[in-house]
Symmetry: C2
Subunit: 522 residues, 2 copies
């Protein structure tokens, strides 16, 4: 077999059996090998940012990596923004980037560029495979490296001749990912002491702490000690809804985050980083930890964060019969939904429509930005669901992440809340959803503006924008027609201009399998 087949066989043996691809000439042997390794599912993307974002979404839901297949430096460049988001989500991704044949590179052909230089900016592990005899072992290592902990982007650069040359050793044995270490007893003790102090405390949760096990432990801690529970601003995958403990997300706006943290004397951090402002603003601090507040790192993302939270529960004797709702478990969110809205369509009726209709077990991919502000509140008591956010701030993540999430969970409905401006970065994802028949409903929040930038224009202290600057943040003239765009990409679509229409279209889309798009004109 050739190197490409040895690589694919190794990936499959290592549990990586989906590849989001946008290939070119240098990857043709990899593509040809798909016919010999049918256990690997190739999913074509029309743009590399779709492939990398889908790999991120897949990893967040499946808990294991997919592979990508990108074409040389420019293909990697097109995929970088969503690899940046995957890096911030700590998603395991096996990022395969084709390269010229090893002997061809010195000729500086038109597509030659510094692939490793680009890949280094997003990758926790990076290797250019040196030959067909090594590529299988490289692939096995890449998979293990992707798992971390914490999860990371592992980039394997694949020269064309490594793919096409004979690989006598064939596939390689999988490499066992590194064990996830437990937190140091001293860190648990320090946190316990802080929470016992009687001073105002908060627990900031991130990463794996935001799944059921971590949330239950954290809720017990909160109930036993009165500590406030906070989630990092942009979680990779937050478990929420009725029957689960509630956790308040730290606000994106620094002013609001400061208010949330006001008066806190001890901040216990589990699977997150101490809070900092998303952007800098003139005259505002970047560090959001209040003056006089001590930060206690219980466990970082390279450690078993839920286990550390449970150890802290034990240290505080908060496991059962504590001050909480009894030994059966901590207080959880009661089931509740808003009624179906009617009348005018605005950010609040839009949120109510989503809250009224969100199906149990849904994966919500949230790139709704300003117009999506009220959706989290309106869905808090919906049946249990997961919430995937824009971890790295590189917009154009929602549609691709929804695509990958749907590949990972074919039995669940994916709802993608997508702002109009953000949608336009990676709209090509809709075509992949159509081709693969993925069960994704995309709700476009169409306010015809980079509304967040209109807000930021004032927040950064720039003078009130004149007509020339306002025009750079305005998405009208011409209006984007998302129904036409979705139709052009093979996804059925409808437009809602009232809350009633939105309920009708959203209900139908959520009831029917397969991709659909609803444009909500706000």
């Amino acid at each position: 077999m050739n190197g490409a087949q040895a690589l694919l066989d190794t990936l499959v043996a290592s549990g990586v059996d989906v590849c989001f691809a946008n290939p070119g000439t240098s990857e043709m042997h990899f593509v040809a090998a798909l016919d010999r390794v049918p256990a690997m599912r190739g999913v074509l993307a029309l743009f590399e940012g779709v492939a990398t974002g889908a790999a991120d979404g897949y990893a967040r839901v499946a808990g294991r990596p997919a592979a990508t297949l990108l074409h040389l430096g420019p293909g990697l460049g097109n995929g970088l923004a969503n690899l940046h988001n995957a890096r911030r989500a700590h998603s395991p991704v096996v990022n395969v980037v084709g390269d010229h044949a090893t002997y061809h590179k010195r000729y500086d052909a038109p597509l030659e560029s510094d692939i490793e230089g680009l890949a280094r900016t997003v990758s926790g592990w990076l290797r250019t495979s040196a030959g067909a005899g090594q590529v299988a072992a490289d692939a096995a290592e890449a998979v293990a490296a992707a798992f971390g902990p914490p999860g990371q982007v592992a980039t394997l650069v694949l020269p064309a001749d490594v793919s096409w040359s004979e690989a006598p050793g064939g596939a390689a044995r999988p490499v066992r990912p590194a064990a996830v270490p437990v937190a140091a007893p001293a860190a648990v003790e320090e946190a316990a002491k802080a929470l016992r102090s009687g001073q105002p405390a908060a627990i900031l949760l991130g990463g794996t702490a935001l799944r059921d096990r971590g949330l239950v432990a954290a809720a017990r801690l909160s109930e036993a000690t009165g500590a406030k529970l906070l989630a990092e601003t942009f979680p990779a995958n937050l478990a929420r809804g009725a029957g689960r403990p509630a956790v308040e997300r730290l606000a994106y706006l620094a002013e609001m985050a400061v208010a949330q943290l006001d008066g806190v004397r001890h901040l216990v951090v589990a699977g997150a980083k101490p809070p900092v402002s998303f952007f800098a603003y003139p005259g505002m601090a970047s560090d959001l930890v209040p003056d006089g507040c001590d930060v206690h790192i219980l466990a970082d993302l390279g450690q078993d964060v839920p286990a550390a939270l449970e150890a802290l529960v034990d240290a505080l004797g908060a496991s059962a019969g504590g001050t909480g709702a009894g030994s059966a478990g901590p207080t959880v969110v009661p089931a509740s939904r808003p009624g179906r809205p009617a009348g005018a369509l605005d950010a609040q009726t839009l949120a109510a429509a989503v809250g009224a209709l969100l199906p149990e077990g849904a994966v919500v991919v949230d790139e709704g930005n300003t117009s999506g502000l009220f959706v989290a509140g309106a869905t808090a008591g919906c049946p249990p669901h997961d919430w995937l956010t824009l971890t790295g701030g590189a917009i154009g993540q929602g549609l691709p992440v929804a695509t990958g999430a749907a590949v990972a969970a074919p039995d669940r409905k994916v709802l993608c809340l997508e702002a109009d401006g953000s949608a336009m970065y990676t709209l090509q994802a809709l075509w992949t959803q159509a081709r693969e028949g993925l069960d994704v409903t995309t709700l476009v929040l169409s306010n015809r503006s980079y509304a967040i930038l209109n807000m930021e224009l004032s927040r950064v202290g720039a003078e009130a924008g004149g007509p020339l600057s306002r025009r750079m943040l305005d998405l009208s003239g011409p209006d984007l027609d998302f129904v036409a765009l979705a139709t052009g990409l093979g996804v059925p679509a409808a437009r809602a201009t009232t809350a009633d229409e939105l309920v009708t279209h959203l209900e139908r889309s959520l009831a029917e399998p397969g991709p659909a798009l609803v444009e909500a004109v706000l």
Copy 2:
């Protein structure tokens, strides 16, 4: 004034008065300053690859740089592929990338990344501005650096606090670009000797040699010495059409390029690089210079290539009364056009339709790939026009380059030949064309396939693709509907399924000002 205004004033004073922008929060002061510097035209793109490709197209037609405005590392990442193409086109570009405030970077906020690491891969000049007091001088240097020679991408990283802080010095004086040096007399003499040798010779032209002055000189050389004239495979801007000297482009397919160069004993290279294969193929050489052929570099792109060709004309006494068509000038292409095609629509009737209708002075942006194979031949005798190609091989260049070309030349028609697969990388360019009312006709060559990869799949020696690999190169299921997509982006569009329909739609689009799209279903 603040740093942002000092920067904009300096750019305008340096002759840079267009900025293709996709801004974010860290660029809000730059955006706000547009109202105070109205001589700078801000052109909004919905995706960064549109902004960078437009800056490339602008530079190729205007001969001077535009600025870009990109948002942090992910924004730069999205723009890298077309910056790669601009680098290969030697286009001057002032690439402005916003960054976090200098004091904010150490907090590793979600959007923090290694901007310089990314920028280095495409930039000939790179600087992070250190303060508002320096940014104006940095901008003046960036403009001069962009001019080269040869033209290059000059990246100026602009921290948010550099933009918003007071810049007491105001704008900076423009920096004069470096002079373009002339070729060494020894290089001219060596080339003259080679062309006098009587042995089979060819002259390979690239870059500035492919405008009128260089072509006329090269044609005289060819007529005086019998040397074959060849142009580099992917020129940035080739002057062609009736009344201009003919030059044959070196083929993309290495097999065909080998045939074009067969038997050549002396290859004189002017403004190009010695030819290499675009990709490597098993068992084929990367270097396309025939065995036993001597390469003579007359002038590289850092030199005045047309002047070097004229010096060579003088050295050979070929200036007038040579063997050519008399002292009035060299032989030129006679005017001729194909008739309007009728009947079935295929690659040949499509080419004939373009040849029958191409207007004088048109700028043709060619990302037509396989289906565009016959268009160059069918337009060879059309009225004079310019031909802009995919210099760096990073697809998704056509629509953005056409956008920038139209901004640079509002009095000329831009015709963009765009393959369907390639169109999907940067389709958002259509929206900018609509908003700015740009005079671009986009002709989508819709064969519903990555046809070039189907060809490459065989050429690289991969076995005949099975169904799983073929599916990765197939763009049907669902078919892309470019009429719907264009409509969604605000550009009027029509579909042609016969040659007659294509003639009708293309003629109307070319006659009317403003953007339009015609989808040719092949």
